[in-house]
Subunit: 578 residues, 2 copies
């Protein structure tokens, strides 16, 4: 993993690619790699859909090795949704495969001089770029099926659906899972639209003939890795809750906490929660012959993904994630698990961020475009997006644009990006993360739900402002680091609660790289990444005024706790004052 | 004019109104009044369509007096289009009438608790607010007709069309002209949407029984006013060009200068310019029985407005302004004067900013929604806006949102507001104004076309960056002052070129107020207003990065001069460094 593959998609005689040494980016991986490249190479004031923007895809530092749980891959760009820097990461197979092929990053630059759509194939023999206009406007599923037919079943695909080709701000970059299905997505921020601008429909990776990346100290690595995996198994979240029910284990928990945003953030509790809970889905999947416990990539020990089958036992989609169940469910007043799964399939196929889409449909419902609770209407709306009708283009542009188009004030976004599945009034720590993360409203950027609700890594009262700044700050710093390793963020549950598991993680990385990593080193890396991201945003025109939640969260009390967001602006401005 | 009328549209038992003394706003008028009230009373981070925003309508300092040319009225709010402070001003009769009724400002606050639409009637007996839901979604023309039927033909109306009711960011506030037609508009920035949020469909003013506002020194005032009017008649622009052809005298001039934005700012010259020039319109109007020379309010000596009639001699609309002819004409590749007049009528009736709409349709054409030059398609698109279809709502949200929805990079906006009819590459001074005005891209905020193209107030090479900062700065300061007086900005041509006419203007104001006004006083007022507006925007999240033109103006050379915008970012940051 000592090379960068740089594609000039706008070259005069058609796209070209060259291999480069890592140079100044040596030692970076995942989010560290994407944010360094974007902040150093992309003009902050450029148009996100212009030739000056770049799309960077980078496996984590440990990806491609035998390290458990190291299959995350980062996608970076200037975001068409937020206008700021973006790192969105995903599971799936691509990270391991790309790393084994030796590439620490793929950079897509420029803009094709015509309307051609390209396929890029990368294997042990090198890189082939071909015009592939017969892929135009295909869904991710059909695209991947064609790739399997052309390139066999040892591949991993990185692709965009029609949403990305149509340059929608809610468009994702899709990654295939172990079954070579496009179920894992770098969802947030519209990176799929940037890939669409670059004219790349799909990148096919095949690591046949390549070897697992070797650690510097194999014995120490193996031992530490084993201890680390055991640590994950030992923690109740990563060892029990997530394997049994997937991320959707959270529906009942967050609903009980009164923080489950319902009907476009009008209440924190949803009557239909139990019908769409992880427990219900797992039962349904087991009964029908699906799988509630499953890994999204090789080397996963948590196994929080799953397979959802329809009433006839046929594969429909992956087990919908908690965020999807919330966004298309409670947030739109919908409590039909089959219907939510159908929308999940559509989102994955069109290449749409499920969080942004559910939040957007919630805003559209608030505007009277459809009624809260009307599942059939919601499906129709998502189909409009796939077709690219005017209404579909509005929705595909995300909640902030939809709110503008319909003249709606109650739009739950920060920096133009929709809030995920935790109301910031009832989980004030996550509100701090939403407000201040350089990514826009993003739960993964500093998952304060841990200490606020789950009792992981301490306890901080979720309904009060006290302690939230420090909590969010520390989590944002740690997360920026973890997102650089390739480790799935879910390891955080175990390393926050179990000091020995944290040390095991440091040992794994140290043994792999041959350089001793300490807790201070983790913090320093996180701060460096956040600083580069904040600097980019500042140069792109952001100010402290963008680090705020919308006014209605400060005015409207949220049932059942009847609380408003109480962290002051002055406190928010201290998050990065470390 | 020593009172403020403040309406609480959100009061529990329905809207109420109270009269207030001027208090700290004494001595302010027009833009000075609106910007002071907005910057002191509206939370900068509030949602433009929320209850915290306010709509302020203020006549100029001289309005309601016998001062020639003093009929401008200002509308202020936090703009739904730009997110910053907005002052948009208009001609028509309302300014004189409201001033004679004694009101220096109307302030609309809050938000009705239900969906009711209100009519406000103000006359010498006081104020009456009535529910008037039968006006819902009526065009401005029908609304005004109903008001005439109910309140006689001595009235002046301030109203919104369906666009304002639908809270579209391109919605205007309409003002009736001398024939009580809704042809004059506070067009820029979506103030009509804010009036829509306040639930006010129309304000009917009747100054029957009220007197002209008396000057402190009647003799001096009368003399100075006479000299001032003569000065206007003496200047070639205000005494000849504007009366003969209206503002559209500029089409041939700006096209000749290679600065007439064509096909969404792709060229500075339009083949069809002569077919839509002021000369052509005047000839057509004269032949058909319309009027090329006409005033938009009593007391106008320039007479730049006009009346456009159709082929059968029936009134269709006012003589389309230069900006309208450009936006719906050259910018969309359309050269049919009748068709442009039809669109002008639709825009006025729906209550839409003609600049924003033409620029938006240009962007939609760039996106492939219709073809450049297809006039029938353009009419259909405007009708979609009136109907509020999804496509219509996209377009009614303005060019920036339309560009986002269609994934288009070439969007000619600053701070979310469309550029008017001068390409910033071929008139670099106006480019500086577009970039830096607190209003977003706005030609009237600092009309550098004077010295850049017209040879008024000096000569500054339009194609080069040298001297543009000083030119724009001085004009922006002077304009903020003039926009406070009620004077029509077109007096600037004469006062820039004729020192005696400038002194006459100072004498008129001094004689009216009884306080000696000097050139330094004009400058001080302008700076004070600009500072309050810049401060508001800063608190609303704007930074120097918002004072920029889009990247493509710096990259794409504009035919026929093949120039790019060459004023540097560092220079732009000096505009307000006085």
């Amino acid at each position: 993993m000592d090379k960068i593959l740089r594609f000039d998609m706008g070259a005069e005689n058609g796209p070209v690619c060259r291999e480069e040494p890592l140079g100044k980016y040596a030692g970076m991986g995942g989010r560290g790699m994407t944010s360094m490249i974007i902040s150093q190479e992309v003009p902050p004031l450029c148009h996100p859909l212009g030739e000056e923007n770049k799309l960077v895809i980078a496996p984590g530092l440990l990806s491609g090795s035998a390290a458990a749980q190291s299959g995350r891959i980062s996608v970076g760009c200037k975001s068409p949704l937020t206008g700021g820097i973006k790192e969105s990461n995903s599971g799936g197979q691509a990270s391991q495969v790309l790393a084994r092929l030796g590439y620490a990053a793929i950079i897509l630059e420029g803009k094709p001089l015509n309307d051609n759509l390209y396929k890029i194939v990368i294997n042990k023999n090198g890189v082939v770029i071909t015009e592939n206009n017969d892929l135009k406007l295909l869904g991710n599923y059909d695209t991947v099926d064609k790739m399997k037919a052309q390139h066999g079943d040892k591949i991993a695909c990185i692709s965009i659906g029609p949403a990305g080709e149509m340059k929608m701000a809610a468009a994702t970059v899709a990654f295939t899972d172990m079954e070579i299905r496009p179920t894992r997505h770098a969802g947030r921020g519209g990176s799929g639209a940037v890939m669409g601008v670059k004219g790349v429909k799909v990148i096919v990776l095949d690591d046949t003939g390549m070897k697992m990346r070797p650690p510097k100290d194999p014995d120490k690595f193996k031992e530490a890795n084993k201890r680390f995996a055991k640590g994950l198994k030992r923690h109740s979240v990563t060892g029990e809750g997530l394997p049994a029910y997937g991320t959707n284990v959270l529906t009942n928990i967050i609903n009980e906490a009164g923080a489950f945003p319902t009907n476009n953030f009008s209440s924190g509790r949803f009557d239909g929660a139990s019908a769409i809970s992880g427990e219900t889905y797992a039962e349904l999947e087991t009964k029908r012959g699906g799988r509630p416990t499953h890994g999204c990539h090789r080397g996963c020990v948590i196994q929080c993904s799953g397979i959802f089958v329809d009433k006839d036992g046929n594969y429909l989609t992956k087990q919908p994630e908690y965020e999807t169940v919330w966004s298309h469910g409670a947030n739109c007043g919908i409590s039909d698990p089959d219907l939510i799964a159908q929308i999940d399939r559509l989102d994955d196929d069109f290449g749409l961020d499920t969080i942004e889409m559910g939040a957007t449909i919630g805003v559209a419902m608030e505007a009277g475009v459809a009624k809260f609770g009307d599942g059939e209407a919601a499906i129709k709306l998502v189909k409009e997006v796939g077709k690219g009708t005017p209404l579909g283009r509005i929705l595909g542009s995300g909640a902030a644009v939809t709110g503008k188009v319909y003249g709606i004030e109650r739009v739950p976004t920060v920096k133009g990006q929709s809030m995920p599945a935790y109301d910031p009034r009832a989980v004030q720590g996550i509100g701090v993360t939403y407000a201040t993360s350089p990514m826009g409203a993003d739960h993964t950027a500093g998952y304060a739900v841990t200490a606020n609700v789950l009792g992981v890594g301490g306890n901080v009262d979720p309904l009060k402002p006290e302690g939230q700044i420090e909590l969010s700050r520390n989590l944002q710093i740690a997360t920026a680091s973890i997102d650089s390793t390739g480790y799935c963020l879910f390891i955080a549950f175990a390393i926050l609660d179990q000091p020995d598991t944290f040390q095991d993680m440091l040992d794994v990385i140290s043994a792999f790289t041959g350089q001793e990593l300490t807790a201070d080193g983790v913090t320093a890396l996180g701060k460096k990444i956040l600083k580069s991201e904040r600097d980019f945003n500042f140069q792109a025109g952001f100010s402290s005024k963008d680090d705020r939640v919308p006014g209605f969260f400060k005015r409207e009390p949220l049932p059942p706790h009847n609380v408003t967001f109480a962290v002051t602006d002055e406190e928010l401005d201290q998050v990065f004052n470390w």
